[in-house]
């Protein structure tokens, strides 16, 4: 053994130690990162579902409880879906007349983040059904039809809610949920 005044680690020892650290640290951080990612994904999905559920619930309840007729114009002149043959087209805007004769309707607002808004005749009366964290895809559609002349009209609602975040571009944290339902007018 060579006499050495300075006692320390040899180069081999250092290389081995650094090598081991170099293997374990990325592994630990990898696991940690995956954990955070899974959590973020769950959070995003939760947010999408919460917003979609809320939007679908409000639309269903309003149409079911309040609507008495469906019209193709805001002034409530041309009634549609009043007979079995007058089915609305896929992209038609539907206007609902409530018990008091007032109009209410749902519009698709394409301004980013795109959303569904509930509106009445008043220009300032706008209520967004989804928040800033999600956007609604432009495939949003509302269609009315009637099985026969004596049964009330049915409104079919179809839309997709996706997560929205202007800063993040990570694909894996995106979530999308499709909503489809149909509501029968009660009144």
């Amino acid at each position: 053994m060579k006499k050495n005044k300075y006692r320390g680690f040899t180069i081999i020892e250092l290389i081995v130690v650094i090598g081991i650290i170099g293997i374990t640290i990325p592994a630990i951080f990898g696991i940690f990162f995956t954990m955070l990612q899974a959590r973020a994904k769950t959070y995003v999905l939760q947010e999408v579902k919460r917003n979609g559920d809320n939007a679908v619930n409000i639309m269903e309840t309003l149409i079911k409880q309040r609507a008495v007729g469906i019209y193709s114009d805001q002034t409530l002149i041309t009634e549609i879906c009043s007979t079995a043959s007058s089915q609305s087209q896929l992209n038609d805007q539907l206007y609902f007349k409530d018990k008091d004769g007032a109009v209410f309707y749902f519009i698709y607002d394409g301004a980013s983040p795109s959303k569904i808004a509930s509106r009445t005749a008043s220009a300032t009366d706008i209520y967004n059904l989804t928040n800033q964290k999600v956007s609604v895809e432009s495939s949003f559609s509302m269609q009315c039809f009637r099985k026969n002349t004596f049964s009330p009209p049915i409104v079919r609602i179809d839309f997709d809610v996706v997560s929205y975040s202007p800063t993040s571009t990570r694909q894996e944290e995106n979530a999308k949920i499709h909503y489809t339902t149909q509501v029968k007018l009660r009144n």
Binding site: A38, R39, Q46, V56, R156, T181, Q182, K184
Partner: protein, 173 residues
Amino acid sequence: MKNQGFTLIEVLIFTSLISFIFITLSYLAVNSIQNSKIGSHKILATHYGEELREVLRSYKEDDWSGFVASIQIYPNTSTVCYGPINLNGSALTETCSDLTCSNKCIRSQFVVGTVPDAIFKRYVTLSYHPANTSPTDPDPSKRNQLDVDITVEWKEGGRTFTVPLNTVFAQNE
């Protein structure tokens, strides 16, 4: 002895301690990842269950007798698999012979969900509500309440998870 180092025993104890800690930590980490995945699948499963509930509700509101006839509740209970729902067409369904659909709904066209989460199996058990209805009663007004038990089921990591969703449908009017 001039070169003092560790004895074999010391090294063994040290490495076993370290490896024990590492194994525990990695187990916890993997468990946590799995749990949050299960959590997000639960959210999706609930959504598919609610979707089916709303669609079935719209069917029954639309036409009660047609709805009851279409699912053939015979003699008093029936379990039906529901594939993906597209309201423009009719839903893909299949009647199971057993209550848990253990051997049904497994064909690929019945799988609900989008890739990579296309793992859900969805079925509904419909039976006449026992409290105030009798399934054998010839009077149709006595058969106006249905117990609806929707189950969304999926397999993950060797385990089977279910999200149950129960409701009662009643005939309007």
